[in-house]
């Protein structure tokens, strides 16, 4: 009990706090990108892009040589158009990697080098162990059949074939028999919600449905890697949103490696486990949505993200702060009332030894219990209200406003084991809406990622102490 009481007593009101490292500054979000469900780093690399250049024009090699010597895109204009300059990144298996940039930034060229539609002028594109820069045409076709499929911006369906035969096209190329490939194609169509449309022609479908056929076709190919070139850009916003959700659902169940190209930052932030921002052929930043949002690499990215709907990208985890008033379930009313007094609050969250959130205790109840039973009361269990509606760590901010408005306490944030990992005071929520200013981009981003410990670690340490 002593351990937990010390832990609660050290958690004083942040603005007046002089306490050491354990207590973060109030405005600081908890560090770590666990809200976006980061991938374990031990997953194998599915696609590796290493120092890739693509120059179109008369003297591409010369242009690459000068670019490597530090020339800019404009400097080599006479030699050719540098579409992609020194791109390097690894995409892990099961990851959604988004390449984001405006038109002309080279993202379409980049994605076309990932399945060999374009050959890199320099550098390597590794698909598993195969280097697309060195394979011959026949090997390349074999790789495309078995390893990587693609969804196109304008769907690229065969207009004279039925939906079913379109979806079966990759299997036909793979040499599968008619009955078998139709069955598989039908399964893919069912998966994207187009069961029953198999005998229609593409021209009879709406744009969203046509892209579902495109998606079904890519899924029917049953490749590990899925390239999506502005796949939802030609769709209207509502359908686009719907398709994004469907893609995320499918990715959950199928676990494909998806490389997604888009010019829409909101889409990139919504879909991407990681995002590469491209500008004028160069990748200017690679990171999670939250990293890019809270710590833009340069003014260009900062301006870009200024318009983003932050409430949909930032999650509870990224803005939550350490709870200041937490009472252990096993603690008596005296512990509870002292905690609330020190934190200057009228109610506190109650957790058990595993930090699992059990409810709320109010100051009046604690005092009443203290009066009625004196020091004999060793547990506050009888006065805990369980009417708490916690939110999970990956809840987007957009969905936090209602709970924040209704709750008298800062909104409780729990992890998947229902442990209390943080709280979100209303003022923090409002502050998160303000984009980081260009003058002090590091003030919010870097401090949090480097200095403050991860919240889970802290709580588990405290639990161990108790």
């Amino acid at each position: 009990m002593t351990a937990s009481s010390t832990s609660t007593s050290t958690s004083t009101e942040p603005p007046t706090s002089t306490a050491p490292v354990l207590i973060p500054v109030e405005t600081e979000p908890f560090p770590g990108a666990h809200g976006t469900d980061p991938l374990p780093d031990d997953r194998p690399v599915a696609v590796s892009v290493q120092g890739v250049y693509k120059v179109f024009g008369r003297r591409p090699q010369e242009a690459v040589r000068r670019l490597k010597d530090g020339a800019g895109r404009a400097d080599v204009k006479s030699l050719g158009t540098a579409a992609v300059i020194d791109a390097s990144f690894d995409v892990k298996q099961g990851e959604i990697f988004v390449v984001m940039g405006l038109s002309g930034s080279g993202k379409s060229t980049l994605i076309r080098m990932l399945n060999g539609l374009w050959k890199p002028t320099a550098g390597h594109v590794l698909l598993g162990d195969d280097d697309l820069a060195t394979v011959n045409a026949k090997q390349l076709r074999a790789l495309r059949r078995s390893r990587v499929s693609m969804v196109f911006q304008h769907f690229a369906l065969l207009p004279h074939r039925t939906v079913l035969d379109n979806a079966a096209y990759p299997l036909e190329i793979q040499g599968m028999g008619k009955a078998e490939r139709r069955e598989k194609a039908q399964q893919a169509l069912d998966l994207v919600g187009l069961g029953g449309w198999q005998d229609s022609l593409p021209s009879q479908l709406s744009g969203g449905m046509r892209q579902r056929v495109g998606l079904a076709r890519a899924l029917a190919a049953d490749t590990d890697v899925l390239l999506m070139d502005e796949a939802f850009s030609a769709l209207d916003p509502l359908i686009r949103r719907e398709m994004q959700e469907q893609l995320l659902d499918l990715q959950q169940t199928l676990g494909k490696t998806i490389i997604f190209i888009t010019h829409d930052l909101n889409e990139a932030m919504h879909l991407g486990d990681r995002i590469a921002v491209m500008r004028d052929g160069r990748t200017v930043q690679i990171g999670t949505a939250e990293e890019i949002l809270s710590d833009p690499a340069n003014d260009y990215v900062a301006q870009f993200v200024a318009d983003v709907d932050r409430t949909r990208v930032l999650t509870a985890a990224s803005v939550m702060v350490r709870p200041t008033a937490v009472v252990p379930l096993g603690g008596g009313p005296r512990v509870a009332s002292r905690t609330m007094r020190e934190a200057q609050v009228s109610a506190a969250y109650v957790v058990d030894r595993q930090r699992v959130l059990r409810g709320v205790v109010r100051d009046a109840d604690a005092v009443a219990l203290l009066k009625s039973s004196g020091d004999h009361a060793t547990s506050i269990e009888s006065i805990v209200h369980d009417g708490v509606a916690p939110v999970s760590v990956d809840t987007p901010l957009a969905e936090l406003f209602a709970p924040a408005a209704e709750s008298p306490l800062p909104v409780a944030v729990t992890d998947d084991k229902n442990r209390l990992v943080g709280v979100i005071p209303r003022v923090t929520l409002l502050e998160a809406m303000v984009p980081p200013t260009l003058e002090e981009p590091d003030a919010v981003g870097q401090d949090t990622t480097e200095d403050a410990p991860a919240p889970q670690d802290t709580t588990s340490t405290e639990g161990a102490d108790a």
């Binding site: 059949r145 693609m150 911006q153 690229a156 369906l157 004279h160 096209y169 990759p170 021209s203 009879q204």
Partner: protein, 291 residues
């Protein structure tokens, strides 16, 4: 004129071509003999098919073709037209002409479509072919008759050969255009799923280019018809010979009757082939509207 004589030396370009044609004739004599036999064989066989059965049978079959291609209206119109041709006593000539047109068009397409495919896939070929096709199309049609007469003498064969040369261009051009117009993304999709170039051509490019290629086929047939009439000058049988004869004898009535038959035949061929181009799977698929 004399002024140019003094300043610009006379270039015997025509003589060179004449020498070249003579050399060609002498060198490839066996080859030309084979070509002549084959063409004549095709033409005779087709003419026999068209002229063998009684008029009404052939006319009904052709009208039925028009009916299936477009509809009853065109079928009836065609039948009426054929009756008019027969009533001015030009039926046999019209069938000769039709046979010539069909043989020449078929050969022009057999050469032109592969050339067009090649040009669509290779920019160099395209660049070389373009001026050659321009030359072939703009050279006055009569001029082709001269070397062909030297090589094949008179009759149907020089007419067919001259017609093929004259009508080749649109077949090549429309094929190239059609294939180049195919949505780049759809072709990319073929590549992206690992299809071979030949398969992409067969399954994607040709089907999607088919409406444009069919427009080319229509043009080839119409150009063939106009040239076949001109080849009446070298003794090719058919409506052309009567037109030429009418011109030489200043015979208005014969000229009008033969000319009108050409017009009816032209309308028939144009409407049927253009109807066929809207019946390709792609054209039908694109015409299908959202449910």
């Amino acid at each position: 004129m004399s002024a140019t004589d003094t300043f610009v030396p006379r270039l015997p370009l025509g003589d060179w071509v004449a020498v070249f044609v003579e050399w060609l004739t002498a060198t490839f004599k066996p080859f030309f003999a084979v070509v002549k036999d084959v063409l004549l064989g095709c033409y005779d066989a087709l003419a026999a098919v068209l002229q063998g059965p009684p008029f009404l049978v052939v006319a009904l079959v052709l009208a039925a073709l028009a009916f299936f291609a477009k509809g009853w209206r065109l079928g009836v119109t065609a039948l009426v037209g054929f009756v008019v041709i027969a009533s001015v006593d030009q039926w046999d000539n019209a069938m000769d002409t039709l046979a010539l047109v069909l043989v020449a068009s078929a050969i022009a397409l057999l050469i032109g479509i592969p050339l067009g495919i090649w040009a669509a896939r290779n920019d160099t070929v395209s660049r070389v072919l373009r001026p050659v096709l321009d030359f072939m199309q703009t050279m006055p049609a009569f001029v082709y008759l001269i070397p062909t007469v030297i090589i094949f003498l008179t009759g149907a064969v020089p007419g067919i050969v001259a017609t093929v040369v004259f009508a080749l261009a649109p077949g090549v051009r429309f094929t190239e255009l059609g294939i180049r117009q195919v949505d780049r993304e759809v072709v990319e999709a073929g590549h992206a799923f690992g299809s071979t170039p030949g398969r992409i051509l067969r399954q994607i490019q040709l089907p999607l280019a088919m409406p444009t290629i069919m427009a080319g086929v229509n043009q080839v047939i119409m150009l063939s018809l106009s040239m076949v009439v001109i080849s009446g000058m070298v003794g090719a049988a058919g409506l052309g010979r009567d037109v030429v004869a009418a011109l030489q004898r200043v015979n208005i009535s014969l000229g009008f009757e033969a000319g009108l038959s050409v017009v009816i035949l032209a309308i028939f061929l144009d409407r049927v082939t253009s109807a066929l181009s809207t019946r390709s799977p792609v054209a039908k698929a694109l015409a299908a509207t959202a449910v």
